[in-house]
């Protein structure tokens, strides 16, 4: 089986661990943390999703990957799309969990909810189907855990502040992402609505769109098993 590269989302990275355990069972799984997210400030020249895309294309080349699978979550889904439009020679298929990155609506409509300027409770409702269960209770966390949340927000801003979570020209190059693609969406996603996912699927050359019930923007956190089942089924058949 060829390798799997998992590209993480912008927030709550550690909470994706149970999903990664399923994904990695019996497979060569690579799940790097992006520069900044890995605890070391990136080189000042390294600050865009383009940079992330080239970095992980380089990684595929270094590993001499063939027919690789990329699983990308939200921000990581955007990185995967940027990779696929550039060079799909080592990419066999991509499974994207509510990817951002493509501007589909008009200039006065948001494709992605404005998380940085929401109240904490509203942001939790936007991201999770069941925020009471999944959204971290900041008052109950220790100092280091809250600092990790602050750092994840900082690096999300670093890579995706303006234009907000998208590349304005990516939509016009999506025809180059000609690989089997699964778009998997939490039905309660308030950050990037399922409707956005359907529109994105229609713009991709070879995509199918599936939803996960009772999940928000991070289905691999809220429904780790169902999400893993769907991704693994796609891996085996695509």
């Amino acid at each position: 089986m060829s390798l799997v590269l998992f590209l993480h989302g912008e927030h709550f990275i550690a909470m994706g661990r149970p999903f990664l355990d399923r994904l990695g069972a019996g497979r060569e799984l690579h799940a790097p943390l992006y520069p900044g997210y890995d605890g070391a400030p990136p080189d000042p020249d390294f600050r865009s999703v383009d940079d992330l895309a080239y970095r992980y294309l380089d990684l595929l080349e270094e590993m001499d990957a063939r027919d690789a699978t990329i699983v990308g979550c939200s921000l990581g889904g955007w990185v995967a799309l940027e990779m696929a439009v550039r060079d799909r020679s080592r990419i066999g298929r991509i499974a994207l969990l509510a990817p951002v990155g493509v501007k589909l609506l008009g200039r006065e409509e948001r494709d992605f909810a404005d998380l940085p300027f929401m109240r904490e409770a509203e942001a939790a409702r936007t991201l999770f189907h069941d925020p009471a269960r999944w959204a971290p209770d900041h008052a109950a966390l220790d100092e280091a855990a809250v600092e990790t949340i602050a750092l994840e927000r900082q690096w999300a801003a670093w890579y995706g502040w303006k234009p907000y979570m998208h590349n304005p020209v990516l939509a016009k190059w999506l025809h180059r992402a000609a690989v089997p693609t699964l778009l998997l969406w939490g039905e309660s996603d308030g950050f990037a609505a399922p409707e956005y996912g359907r529109r994105l699927a229609a713009r991709l050359p070879d995509a199918r769109f599936e939803t996960i019930p009772d999940a928000g923007h991070y289905p691999h956190i809220e429904r780790a098993d169902e999400t893993a089942d769907a991704v693994l089924a796609f891996l085996e058949n695509a």
Binding site: F117, R119, A150, R153, W158, W161
Partner: protein, 385 residues
Amino acid sequence: MMQVWHFSEMAYHPGWESLPDGLRNVIPSRVYDPEVGADLYHRYLDEWALCDRLGLNIMVNEHHATATCTTSVCTIPMAILARETEKARLLCLGMPIGNRMDAVRVAEEYAMLDVISRGRVEMGFVKGAPFEINPANSNPAELEERFWEAHDLIVKAMTTHDGPFNWEGRHYHYREVNVWPRPWQQPHPPIWMTVASPGSAQRVARKGYVIAALNTGYVHTPVVYGAYRESAAEAGFDPGPDRFAYLCIIGVGETEAEGKRRAHQILDYSRTTPRVQPQFFYPPGYSPAARMSGLIRSGSELRIQRRDGSDFPMQDGTVEDFMAAGVAFAGTPAQVVEQVEEFAAAVGGFEHLLMMGQGGFLSHEDTVANLTLFSEEALPAIGRM
């Protein structure tokens, strides 16, 4: 010689009551009545113009999308006052250069003002409050870097007189930077920066710029000034008192009660500062993660420390609270002189007293009386400090 500067935020206080959920960022401008606003602009400008006759200097600033401050473009009152006044120095504290997308335009505005005023401009460069990130949509995770690139470009643009130069930086790109007019003051108008943390004080000290501490009181001011002095010493210069400025609220009256009443009204400036929806207070990456995590955890309640170390919420401090913190000085002119003297001695001295002589609902008549009485009966003694 202590210099005193009068500052007002040109508040649109008539709208405050109808905006219970906050006074910034998302408030609808239908609350603003342009006829009322025009009258307010003119009276605030009149009060600044009066400073010229009273021996006071002038300080303006800018904020965006807010009813607390309707100076949305700081160089507009500066431009009007450059014509209306003859002696007062004109300080903008300041220009949020990290949030302005066109740094060369900033150099042009300041240079033009400097020439019109015949060399009376003081250039403040500020990073801006956290809630200014939203209206500017500048990337908070890059603000520090963009601020310093803008600074470098503006200074070079104002001091280059042999024709254009090229600038291809990370944040600013110009084929030909060629600022006309060149400034009156050589090599450029004095530069001021506001500082709230010892870390940023160090960088300002290495440049030798005037450092302004805003409402930092007895407890925090010496920390910031101390960091400046230390870094200045490391950089090999001994900063005189003219490198230090302090912003406070001042209310004087014929009686102690009248002075305190005026300060109490001006203090609505401080009390309304936290009236902003909490999410605008900590944009991601605006401050180091250790500080941000505290804000994520506890929300945005701002507290002010009294001299004895106890604290109170900024939103509802009394005039006595703010006086105990060294944020407000109030009473008769003689009492205010004494309070300023005591404070200046406690924090290690400064030469620029930035006096908020108007704020909130303080009326025009009260403001004129406050500034006039201060100028006649407190300024002579303060000037000798």
